[in-house]
Amino acid sequence: MKRIFLLLSLVLGLCATSVRADVDPAALKALGADDFDAKSGAIATLVAAGDADARRILTALSDDALAVAGERIVIVAGDQVLDAATGAAIKPTPASPESISLNNSLRQQVNSALAALRLLSADRAERLASAKSLLSDMGEGATLLPLLDKALKQEQDGEIKPILVQLRAQASLASPDAALRLQAVKDLSNSASPAVKALLLGLLEKQGDTFVEPDEKVRAEAQFAIKAIDSRLVWSDLSGRLFTGISLGSILLLAALGLAITYGVMGVINMAHGELLMVGAYSAYAMQGLFRSHLPDYVDYYVVAAVPVAFFAAALVGMAMERTVIRHLYGRPLETLLATWGLSLVLIQAARLLFGAQNVEVANPAWMSGGLQLAENLSLPWNRLVIVAFSGFVLLVVWLMMNKTRLGMFVRAVTQNRPMAGCVGVPTARIDTLAFGIGSGIAGLGGVALSQIANVGPDMGQGYIVDSFMVVVLGGVGQLAGAVWAALGLGVVTKFLEGWAGAVIAKILVLVFIIVFIQKRPQGLFALKGRFVE
């Protein structure tokens, strides 16, 4: 991105040399000043000039490439330094130029200005892009009105034109001509953007006792337009809320799925489950580090690589736990509970010593950052979408493993009737270890998912242990389907409650609900029935 801008600025710089319109040196100087208003003024003048030099300087400014070297303002382009005014390289390169930094509002001013300037560019794609970017944030548009008119006149493209109309309408809301404003409001009424709605609401504001918008008709029109926009927003609003619920559900599911096997199927109360999640998350961190140092070009795919690694890492830890401790405690769930709690403490402290007490940084890969814009006010974050899909995938794998493979059959056999399974030649001990390993491995997968949305730190696991148990218990022990319904149910319910009672109360209510529910159906959503001889 940055490179492109620099190139662009250079190109422009070269062609600019032919048609030289001098850059106002005062403005240039002001850019280097430490005073906000001066800077903002300077930028305004540059926009007004709107020529290649201005464009070059603004681009540099938005890339933090503009700097002060002693008395002159320069552009730092890679290893060479150009004079901002002329774009000519400076020899000898001045020592340590002080980069000029912008704060949010200045940056916005520069960016929208650049975008506006680019509306006149010859390249269609560029025009479209800049038009779109303006749509989302034009800020105080009035200054751009002339530019927009110009652009609108020469614009032929069918896709860009309507956007420009929108923009022009937005910009002209502030114009003194009532007719123009009325038209603008009319144009805006078929938008679906909260930003536009905000603008219109602005018109209806009162300042003192007079409305911002003096004209009665325009206000009425605005009212109407707002209603129109709202009606478009409602739908996406609702679906957005539903998605948050599903997303939370999928995360609960991923956190609980491993437990559904170790506890649900094998009856092991693994309080160290949370730490297995942690192992998964840290392996994601490790993979990220590995890719950054060795495969910088593919760094975006470290997550993919992390999936198997996390699985095996967690599985190994799990099997080690099973071999050393849990194995000796089968049939004594409560003792298992305590011993595994001890294990979890050890794992936490081990993580502290290995990676430090501080949380570690795990970045979303590019393809998992940002969101899928379904509507102006509905964008589904990619990382959550991916996780929802991922949880579905993991679920499928688990289901296949338990129901379609020999191993799965063995596991079920052993957990149903250990001695009998032993008699028919199932290597029960090995099966136990494997089954526990699988459960742990799946927890590891959950950890990878968590690393994409939450903290990665030594005691991250503690936060999930209670929730995970709730999901499994609620779903009904030994019931994958149950776990799924429980997780999604809890997710959606929690989100609904949060919207209505706030996060804290919501959490409490959900827990209370679970306690009450267990009273009514101690066997969870999906009951196992049968005769049990003691």
């Binding site: 029935k529 049968g530 005769r531 001889v533 003691e534």
Partner: protein, 283 residues
């Protein structure tokens, strides 16, 4: 749900006496705790069905036991013998059908403890005794007394209780083991102890699930004698595979198959029965 509320009302804490108020709702008015044997029948099972996830453990099972009778149950595995006992003792609720103790006591409405109080004692297939308690304590706990928390806090044993325990110990031949932890007894002795625990409760009806499994022949013989001696005072339902033992007991035999009664009569006739031979003895 109906059951739930009933349980809470009939909880033994307000137990022994009052818990019949619950029954009042069913229209029977009786002196508290009295077992109505007017028709000389102690147990009716009528059209009982129990199914677990589609599998019918009991299928329209109907039978009745006379007061003082000793009845043996035989049948292949999965014939529903144990499930039947679960229903009678309230461990499992039937999906449909009636189970009456005497004329008036509806078993399907009561919790295990209530049923035990009403006078039905049960011995499990696998001996279940309190392994960490001494033999004496096992009997003491089973002893027929007020079994509410309040009483248990200040309970004392009086002479006649001690005598009863002593007699039972003699009956089950564990007198000299009285102070050993029950866990250390032999399998057979455990079986005996569990029977003993039934006896001190002195129930009107005893359910005995494979009582002689794992006993030596000699023990088995003595068990048979014991049961026969109980006949009359108590009614007994014995589930057993050991035909010799069944024979020794004499009395009526009921054959269960696929959750319902296949045949009934004395052992000889039953063994002669063609269907029985097919499903059971035949193999």
């Amino acid at each position: 749900m109906r059951v739930e509320s009933n349980i809470s009302r009939n909880a033994p804490a307000d137990g022994q006496q009052e818990h019949w108020d619950g029954e009042a709702s069913t229209g029977h008015v009786l002196k508290p705790g009295e077992l109505d044997l007017s028709h000389n029948v102690i147990l009716y099972l009528d059209d009982i069905t129990v199914s677990f996830d589609g599998f019918r453990a009991l299928n329209k099972l109907s039978l009745q036991i006379d007061a003082g009778e000793l009845r043996c149950f035989i049948g292949p595995n999965g014939a529903g013998k144990t499930t039947m006992m679960d229903v009678i003792t309230g461990k499992t609720r039937p999906d449909s059908g009636k189970a009456f103790f005497g004329q008036t006591i509806d078993l399907t409405r009561m919790t295990e403890p209530q049923i035990a109080h009403a006078g039905i004692g049960r011995k499990f297939q696998k001996p279940t005794i309190f392994e960490n308690h001494s033999v004496f304590e096992n009997l003491e706990l089973a002893l027929k007394t007020d079994k509410r928390v309040k009483k248990s806090l200040f309970a004392r044993l009086f002479g006649d209780d001690l005598d009863k325990i002593a007699d039972t110990l003699r009956q089950i031949r564990l007198t000299d083991q009285a102070d050993r932890p029950a866990g250390l007894l032999s399998h057979g002795q455990k079986q005996w102890l569990e029977i003993g625990m039934l006896l001190v409760q002195d129930p009107k009806l005893l359910l005995l699930d494979e009582p002689v499994a794992g006993m030596t022949d000699d023990e088995t013989e003595r068990t048979a004698e014991l049961f026969v001696s109980l006949k009359g005072k108590h009614s007994l339902m014995v589930v057993e595979h050991d035909m010799a033992f069944v024979e020794a007991l004499g009395g009526k035999v009921t054959v269960l198959h696929e959750g319902s009664v296949l045949a009934e009569g004395d052992l000889a006739t039953v063994q002669a029965d063609q269907r029985v031979i097919e499903v059971y003895l035949g193999r």
